[in-house]
């Protein structure tokens, strides 16, 4: 049924992460954790998967002496998300 949908984005957490990143310049790990309500370990796994596929970039830096992880969506990620939404729209049109 969802054969044409990107398997990387076809996950609740990863889809939420990419959708959040579509609307912001960058997001910190803590903000993504708060929004997705998944454990830190699970979120790290999902972020790594997105990073491996070059959908996002992850930057680690220090803010007020504390380490922070910042995520940004890449052009490839934007295109993948747009394609995902288009495919979803097509599917919904067929369903109607």
């Amino acid at each position: 049924m969802f054969n044409n949908l990107d398997s990387i984005l076809h996950s609740q957490t990863r889809l939420a992460i990419i959708s959040i990143l579509m609307g912001v310049e960058e997001a910190e790990f803590t903000a993504l954790k708060e929004f997705t309500k998944v454990s830190a370990g699970n979120l790290s796994l999902q972020l790594d998967k997105l990073k491996e596929n070059e959908y996002i970039t992850i930057q680690k830096e220090f803010k007020n002496k504390y380490p922070v992880t910042k995520c940004r969506i890449t052009k490839k990620g934007i295109l993948a998300f747009e394609h995902y939404v288009e495919t979803l729209k097509e599917y919904l049109d067929i369903k109607k």
Binding site: H10, S11, Q12, T13, L15, A16, S19, I20, M22, G23, V24, E25, E26, A27, E28, T30, A31, E34, F35, T36, K37, V38, K63, N64, V85, L88, Y91, L92, K95
Partner: protein
């Protein structure tokens, strides 16, 4: 949030909720609008009082008011540190504000340096403030869809018409009113309304 096979309704709901969450993020620009709107309005008002009434007291106030720029710089620095500390999601609009106001500062700085010795520097300075601030707020208001900035920017540019027709004291008063419309009032509305700007 668990991972399982998603239905199309769930997918749409996730996308909708996430995008709504992102778009609710405020940039924090209201604080800078309030800081600089207040400082510039007060400074121009004080200069109006000084050139209009010409008393020792207003002259003293005018001298003191110059130091408000340093206070503004310090407050902006402290505010930016506070923003850096608390901001975990950086809204897309933040870059619009940043580059627009860096451009404005450079523009005003260049006018001050190049035309500082000009005979009609005050008129040029007042026009530059109203024109640059008005133009920037009109564009930012359009990009962020925030009407008070559009209206403020437009009014600010309209006030320029009156500057060449006024005496030096009223040039300061018109500029103070312009800054009130294009910085302070939109800044307060940004802060105390639900607008996501």
């Amino acid at each position: 949030m668990e991972n399982h096979n998603l239905t199309s309704e769930e997918q749409i709901s996730i996308i909708e909720n996430s995008l709504k969450h992102s778009s609710k993020q405020k940039t924090g620009a209201s604080n800078y609008y309030i800081i600089w709107g207040t400082i510039l309005t007060v400074t121009f008002m004080v200069h109006f009082l000084n050139t209009h009434f010409k008393t020792d007291f207003t002259a003293l106030l005018a001298d003191i008011s110059i130091s408000l720029y340093a206070v503004g710089g310090l407050l902006s620095f402290l505010q930016s540190r506070k923003d850096d500390k608390n901001e975990t999601l950086v809204p897309l609009n933040e870059k619009v504000y940043k580059y627009a106001w860096i451009g404005a500062s450079i523009g005003i700085g260049v006018i001050c340096v190049s035309q500082g010795s000009s005979n009609n520097f005050i008129e040029l300075f007042c026009i530059s403030i109203l024109l640059i601030f008005g133009l920037i707020n009109l564009i930012i208001g359009g990009v962020t869809n925030f009407k008070p900035l559009i209206i403020g920017g437009f009014l600010s540019m309209l006030l320029i018409i009156l500057i060449p027709l006024s005496t030096i004291d009223y040039k300061f008063l018109i500029t103070a009113i312009g800054v009130l419309f294009n910085c302070l009032i939109p800044g307060l509305m940004m802060k105390y309304t639900r607008a996501n700007v």
